[in-house]
């Protein structure tokens, strides 16, 4: 029984290892990245495979293959990654999962490093599968282990939902005796993994038939704890995930202790909710994320009683919870400390590193935009998204991974000129390839500028799935001729030359690609250190 000081992400990874997981796939994304990084660090020790893939969908599909072969698989991603993997995810719920398949998905309430704060409990519910929501590190470990068992018991994929404050918090966990990996044991009944209607209909039926058993499991689960206080009926409290932590942090100061249901595993335990509701005059819901349980309650409670939560403004709808917001909602005072208010502090947003190649690429774009007023520069997600803020203010859009290319194509085909799409190498390989094919085949009048810094920098410098040379071949292979496919090196010394080339390609009436290739400074430092050490 080891005591380990681990991040929430790492506790989840450790749980997967001790559950006998054989293969892990994923695509980086804050706050989920450290799950895979931990697995990779220990892969050899435990005899597991832990690999980054091109994107979340290919990761998930790989995991389905592992499950098909009978072994246990983990897929890791951030919340928006599940949107990319959604086709695979939603359909996998209708396949008869063989080896346990667990998706560890990290949400980012408060949008610390994300473009939205969507709540993964919804897609889990949509797919009619089980979802675990750990509130601390030990739970992250235990629940991930249990998720594999549940997956195999009910033959469904299972979700472990993490949130930033747990994923990126460190604490001590105790590990238990590990379970051995599964032996290879491929699926044998063809219809179990076949989605032609003749099979999909009975498979969907089986998924529906599984629901009452899943509910029964959730009702019995020790992760869903109901504590009834017979002598206090004014209100009862339902918490989930980190909402439970903040509640317990401040609850001691309440004049009376209310009955309390904490939900750690979904589907929601309907009977436990009804038992609580039958004993109180009002229900307070404290959950991290969207008002998921709060919405469900209204269809579950038989004699409607008032429900307070995010929908009525009892707690803030947006952003993440904290002990202060929970205390205030419960009418408890918040300590005012020194009572000093300093309101004149300048903000300190993140910025590009000194010597970053994106810096020089932006300088070239700046000159182009000065010349061609009104140029649309669609962009994407990565360090280069900092091009949106001062001192650059050069890019016009950032939406979802890969959108820069499709948006530029759309704007160009709508008749706009000039249009430039800017996208990082990792993002391009994640979701830009299909957009490239669209753009090439319609020879649309736009310029695609790929910012190839040789790494996935924003999430901490994971290796891109393929190197710079292969990247060029793939673009050439898609049908971009050598006349309009160039590689430049974004350096101050090349500035004039680069501007000239960009100008020339903007004036070309058709599709052209320029790759700005120079390594990320942080990545170079890391790899040179790595070399020195080995």
């Amino acid at each position: 029984m080891d005591r380990l000081l681990l991040l929430g992400d790492e506790a989840c990874a450790m749980g997967a290892i001790d559950a006998g997981m054989s293969v892990a796939y994923g695509y980086p994304g804050t706050p989920s990245t450290e799950i895979m990084e931990f697995l990779q660090k220990h892969a050899r020790n435990y005899g597991i495979v832990a690999k980054w893939c091109a994107n979340e969908k290919t990761s998930y599909e790989g995991a389905m293959g592992v499950s098909y072969a009978g072994r246990r698989a983990l897929v890791t991603m951030k919340h928006v990654g599940l949107n990319v993997a959604f086709d695979a995810f939603a359909n996998s719920a209708l396949q008869k999962i063989n080896g346990g398949l667990v998706a560890a998905v990290a949400d980012d309430p408060g949008m610390h490093s994300s473009q939205n704060e969507q709540d993964t409990r919804y897609p889990a519910d949509f797919a009619k599968t089980a979802c675990f929501e750990p509130r601390n590190h030990q739970e992250a470990y235990e629940m991930t282990r249990e998720a594999f068992d549940v997956s195999e018991k009910f033959n469904i994929p299972v979700v472990v939902r993490l949130v930033t404050r747990l994923a990126h918090s460190r604490s001590i966990i105790r590990t238990r005796q590990p379970r051995a990996q599964n032996a290879l044991n491929r699926a044998h009944v063809i219809s179990d993994w076949m989605c032609i209607p003749a099979c999909a209909k009975p498979n969907y039926h089986a998924l529906l038939e599984c629901q009452p058993r899943l509910l029964e499991y959730s009702e019995q689960s020790a992760w869903n704890t109901l504590e009834i206080k017979e002598d206090f009926r004014e209100y009862g409290v339902i918490t989930t995930g980190l909402g439970g932590n903040y509640y317990c942090e401040v609850a001691a100061a309440l004049p009376s202790q209310p009955s309390h249901l904490h939900i750690g595993v979904y589907p929601i335990p309907i009977e436990k909710i009804r038992r609580l509701a039958g004993r109180v005059e009002r229900i307070v819901v404290i959950e991290e994320g969207y008002p998921f349980v709060e919405e469900k309650l209204r269809s579950v409670i038989r004699d409607p009683i008032p429900i307070q939560g995010k929908m009525d403004g009892f707690l803030p709808y947006e952003g993440e919870l904290n002990p202060d917001s929970v205390a205030r909602a419960l009418n408890l005072s918040v300590a005012h400390g020194l009572g000093i208010v300093i309101d004149k502090l300048p903000s300190r947003p993140p910025q590009l590193c000194k010597g970053c190649p994106h810096h020089d690429t932006f300088a070239v774009l700046r000159e182009i935009v000065n010349e061609y007023k009104g140029t649309i520069i669609t962009s994407d997600i990565g360090c280069y998204t900092l091009g949106a803020i001062p001192p650059y203010e050069i890019i016009d859009s950032a939406s979802c991974m890969g959108a820069s290319i499709g948006m530029a194509k759309g704007a160009a085909e709508a008749g706009y000129h000039p249009v430039i799409a800017t996208i990082g190498d990792s993002t391009f390989l994640h979701s830009g390839l299909t957009g490239l094919v669209d753009a090439v085949t319609s020879n649309v009048n736009m310029l695609l500028l790929i910012l190839d810094n040789g790494t996935t920098a924003m999430t901490g410098g994971q290796d891109t799935i393929m190197g710079s040379e292969q990247l060029v071949s793939i673009i050439r292979g898609a049908g971009v001729g050598p006349k309009h496919l160039h590689t430049i090196i974004p350096l101050p010394a090349n500035h004039e030359k680069n501007v000239v080339l960009l100008r020339k390609e903007l004036n070309y009436e058709g599709f052209s690609v320029i790759i700005a290739r120079r390594g990320c400074i942080q990545h170079l430092k890391k790899s040179s250190k790595g070399k020195a050490a080995s």
Partner: protein, 194 residues
């Protein structure tokens, strides 16, 4: 025993690694610990905060409630001021006076002095300079840990020394030595501790 610490600084200053040293010490001395930190985007030269909660009881929340932190360790003059609302009335404010000027509107030193003047019992030091008396300036954060250690009696000096050794061992004996000296120099600043 409960002791809540806020660490503030700029991405790249070692806020998270300093927090981890505190957490490791707490674990070695048998306490529960929760360390909340920031990864990702903010680490690129932006404002970074970490929180370390140490207790002999169960720690529920990863985040420290407002007005209750026992100590703020600010690795940079304005970053600690940003989280001042977290500090308890009798909390301890420890700050480095070495600015990281990577924004155009960085405040004048007079403004910083004025603000510090409002915080009773604050400790403000030129951490880099102190570190340089022991070795390289990059150990400035360990100087601050040394100062803070004097106010956390539950954690033994020997534990700090052991954890610092373990943390820097990979980088060679020289780095270990200068960090241990930086720690001692910081601790030496506080007379009598507490």
């Amino acid at each position: 025993m409960n002791y809540d610490i806020i660490l503030a600084g700029v991405g790249g200053q070692g806020v998270v690694s300093s927090a981890t040293i505190l957490s490791r010490c707490a674990m070695c001395d048998g306490f529960n610990v929760r360390q909340s930190e920031v990864h990702g985007m903010a680490q690129r030269g932006g404002a970074v905060q970490a929180q370390v909660r140490i207790s002999d009881r169960v720690i529920e929340s990863d985040l420290v409630p407002s007005g209750t932190a026992d100590c703020i360790i600010s690795m940079e003059p304005i970053e600690g001021l940003r989280c001042l609302s977290l500090l308890a009335e009798n909390g301890r404010y420890i700050t480095s006076l070495d600015p990281v000027v990577n924004i155009p509107d960085y405040p004048e030193s007079q403004f910083i002095e004025e603000q510090l003047g409002k915080i009773s019992g604050h400790i403000a030091v030129n951490a880099k300079k102190i570190a340089q008396t022991a070795g390289p300036a990059y150990a400035a954060n360990i100087v601050l840990i040394g100062i803070a250690s004097a106010f956390i009696p539950a954690l033994a000096v020997a534990t700090f020394e052991r954890v610092i050794r373990e943390t820097f061992e990979r980088k060679g004996e020289k780095v270990v030595e200068s960090n241990l000296k930086a720690f001692a120099a910081g601790r030496g600043i506080v007379k009598g501790g507490r």
